[in-house]
Symmetry: C2
Subunit: 169 residues, 2 copies
DNA sequence: CTTTAACTTCACACATTTCTGAAAGAAGCG
DNA sequence: CGCTTCTTTCAGAAATGTGTGAAGTTAAAG
């Protein structure tokens, strides 16, 4: 173990820089996977925060972006259930928190995608008919999506079990 | 069954329009899932083609885009193993073909993603340490990715079995 | 070895996306 | 009930991405 966290707060700046490196690197990978930049950065920052929650001002400062940008990013993240909003009682400050079951939800959200794709494929099969090569090819894709939907359900159940066994929370 | 394929080639235009609708719709969904537009359109067109393969000129004409655009799209698709290039012997024409195991490969390609993410998460865990909430949170994410990698492997095996059983090819 | 057909590369124009600053909108506090 | 503080909305500037046309490259055919 090298220079990680020089005991609590001996050097806040270096610590902050290290956090920033991790945040930006993770965010970049999320972007690569299709997420837009600002939501990715906000999500990474929240995941790296001690409490798993930060205020708008904290995010704005840490990521060096305007409050408006944070607002937009949070709106998106809340919509896809990766982040929840908390009103701190007795203040107009709002805290944004990463969901404990973040990726779980993110994957489940893929189900909606799969449904849409299945619909499209079904229409394709109808249009071309199973007596054409195209029709059969598209039908196989449809079968794959159906298979995937079924499998992802049980996969997430196994994850929930695995998680409960290995980790307290 | 309504107006699908009025027996072979009675009305090529209407048929072409119907194909185009399917292609564009499917492409739009691929775009929504993160693929760039032109590769998505090319892939959808190939999937809907009778032979599962088209020449550059055919794609260019059908999608109403320049050869340059097709070239770029195909380069990408070949890179991610969704399409293979075939040289028609005795002609400078090239045919692009959808892989039979398209989605299979697309998913396997995700493995590379997972590895990268795992690396980043491991660094995060090291940086924060398991004695911090952040560290534990990031560690759980790492565990999830490890779990996912393992599960996806067996999932694809099951698909291969399922496919072999239900379909001839 | 030249011609010609097909594909590719590259610079640029157009379109889209993304973030900011300013103004308006909520919500506690005096 | 108005003041203050935080958040959101919106128009526009800046950055980014995407497809085209023209020139360049490769390879078959004469």
């Amino acid at each position: 173990m090298d220079e990680r966290r020089t005991d609590d707060r001996t050097d806040g700046d270096a610590e902050a820089a290290a956090v920033s490196r991790f945040v930006e690197r993770f965010a970049a990978q999320l972007v690569q996977a299709g997420m837009t930049r600002m939501p990715a950065r906000v999500f990474a920052a929240l995941l790296s925060s001690e409490q798993g929650a930060l205020t708008s001002a904290e995010l704005s400062g840490q990521l060096k972006v305007s409050p408006a940008a944070v607002s937009g990013a949070v709106r998106y993240l809340a919509q896809v259930n990766l982040v929840s909003r908390e009103r701190e009682p007795g203040s107009r400050r709002e805290r944004y928190r990463v969901q404990g079951d973040q990726w779980y939800n993110a994957l489940l959200e893929r189900d909606a995608f799969l449904r849409n794709w299945q619909t499209t494929m079904r229409e394709g099969v109808e249009q071309f008919g199973l007596d054409t090569p195209q029709g059969r090819r598209i039908n196989e894709t449809l079968e794959f999506f159906l298979f995937l939907e079924k499998e992802l359900g049980s996969l997430m159940q196994r994850w929930a079990a695995h998680r409960a066994e290995h980790l307290g929370s």
